[in-house]
Assembly symmetry: C2
């Protein structure tokens, strides 16, 4: 049994845990481990948005083009592809890239092949919407949790290994306690989302400024290798409840502090569905996420089901990763997306928005 907080990230606590020192979790779970050289990671969600089904081939071609650019110098160490229908009925294709070196990410983002493409006027006129939502948490600002130990997805894919059984899971509050920062920091939000360039209602280019400690959760389900019993467990028992909860957050998230919630379907480069889904949720704070997760009937039902089956899972892969980040390490940019997209929906419009080119 070891702590979810890696040795080199341990520090004298000013905030205590909520469970006694001899707490024993009811079943084993694991977290990702990164070498000490890893100090910060970049998680970058790039999206293509369209409303009319006729635009799907064009959107998929654009996604493939974006994926091609990931393979340029300083591209991400890992990426995956998804699609989803959003809170306004628009379709969205996304590629998420993970970098274990934010400097490499910066070089990549600023490279002409990437920057020129994003800044091109063609992006305004080619009939598709685009967005990029990028955060770069320090290693004390994110945590992971896996019910398996191999081939870690998401940020785990750019880490260096897996822990032994960890202590901090199986109780409400354990998510927070897996963050190294939680030893001394409440990770409270400061400020509000603000539109700092553009006008969401008018379309075109919009930039949203975030704020400290926006929390992002990626919570995934992979049944690609599952046998019939675990496929049924996920598809028939877990998924309907999960969808109800995720639909609630997609459509009513503003009532509970959830800025954006996308339940996404993993796809291949041709847009074919894989047996893998995940949810990507942006929250005002870790606390808002905790309050919802601990009290919403859908999430509690999933939680009790997971408790019941966790010890026996074989091929059904369930996991999550949660991060917070400094406002300075956040990018939320939109081109011709509907005004309810991503961080735009809940962002405050300044009295005199700055027009952008």
């Amino acid at each position: 049994m070891e702590s979810a907080i890696d040795h080199h990230l341990t520090c004298p606590r000013t905030i205590s845990r909520r469970v006694p020192d001899d707490y024993q979790p009811p079943f084993p779970m694991w977290v990702g481990r990164a070498d000490t050289v890893v100090e910060q990671v970049t998680m970058a969600y790039f999206g293509v948005q369209y409303l009319d089904d006729d635009l799907r081939p064009s959107a998929l071609a654009t996604l493939r083009d974006m994926v091609g650019r990931l393979h340029f110098d300083d591209g991400p160490d890992h990426h995956d592809l998804t699609e989803h229908t959003d809170n306004a009925g628009h379709h969205n294709l996304m590629v998420v890239g993970y970098w274990r070196d934010p400097a490499a990410f910066c070089r990549w983002l600023r490279s002409p092949a990437v920057a020129d493409w994003w800044n091109s006027d063609e992006r305004l006129t080619d009939g598709l919407g685009y967005f990029r939502e990028i955060t770069t948490p320090r290693v004390d600002q994110f945590e992971t949790l896996y019910a398996f130990q191999d081939s870690l997805p998401g940020v785990g894919a750019v880490m260096d290994g897996i822990s032994g059984d960890i202590n901090e899971h199986g109780y409400w509050g354990s998510m927070r306690e897996r963050f190294p920062a939680s030893q001394t920091d409440w990770m409270q939000p400061a400020g509000d989302l603000r539109i700092v360039a553009g006008d969401p209602q008018a379309g075109g280019r919009v930039v949203v400024a975030g704020h400290d400690n926006i929390a992002i959760i990626r919570s995934g389900q992979d049944w690609r290798d599952a046998e019939a019993d675990e496929r049924a467990l996920y598809l028939d028992e877990i998924r309907p409840t999960l969808l109800a909860g995720m639909d609630f957050l997609r459509d009513n998230g503003d009532t509970v502090g959830c800025y954006s919630n996308r339940f996404v379907q993993s796809i291949d480069l041709d847009g074919n569905s894989l047996d893998e889904t995940y949810n990507i949720g942006h929250w005002r704070s870790l606390e808002k996420l905790e309050r919802w997760a601990e009290s919403h009937p859908t999430h509690l039902r999933i939680f009790t089901t997971f408790f019941r089956v966790a010890a026996g899972l074989e091929k059904l892969r369930l996991y999550h990763e949660v991060s917070v980040s400094d406002a300075a390490n956040q990018v939320f940019e939109y081109i011709n997306c509907h005004p309810g997209s991503g961080m735009m929906r809940d962002a405050q419009v300044l009295s005199a928005p700055t027009p952008t080119a």
Copy 2:
């Protein structure tokens, strides 16, 4: 908004809360307040046990006799009556008395009218079983929580008033945080239950020694004044789930750290049912109670229902009180009760039990 921890019980924390300072509960709730002169309270459960229905009149007469003795000098400041069928199908009548002055309780317990009755050989031969389970927590060792503000039941009846809206509720961990002791003490158990006199299998008199920080929860439901809608809410929606959870703890409590669990029906002196019930549960520790409450489907379902309706409750009175106590302030004694009764079930039998008279 005020803290559940009364001013005079506040001290510098060595253990932090689990929620940020600006936490706001989702609806109002209240706690009991006692004058500063109250330092410790006694909660004494006195029971009469019988198996054969024919013994009910005799058991009721004995209960009435016991209630009569409560009115002697130094008797309790408040009491109530209940009945329940236990984990072995035996019937039990109980009277619980609350004293706001443990010295008065001691004088009462040692008074000839009480002591002689308990010690009489007639108790061994009159065909009924008897038990007394008594704890005397200090005021930093118990907490209360009410969804109403008047005529407090249980320990609240021997307190002096009600708080304003309190902060520490609506999240997992808030029960612990309402204990003044939680500011500096994990309230961890030490030792095990032990049979220190008698032999539960043989019947007769048995004494069980407790251990530090046994946790006791009384969780109540009073629909005596409720209108039709709230009666239906309780009887049709809450109660079936509640019973499933309480039956689980009664029959399988040993698997989760629950020593004893009795879901009891309030009665009058003639044994007629009132529209009031409560559960009285004894746990190895507050932590074991927390883990069960936070993860068992039945309790989570009740919790979400309560969250949904709490703000609108009018006449349906829901509440709880939870205490821990020092081993030195615990009494667990049984006469001719079946060996699964109360603290006997999970008590370790010493190799050479001391016979009692």
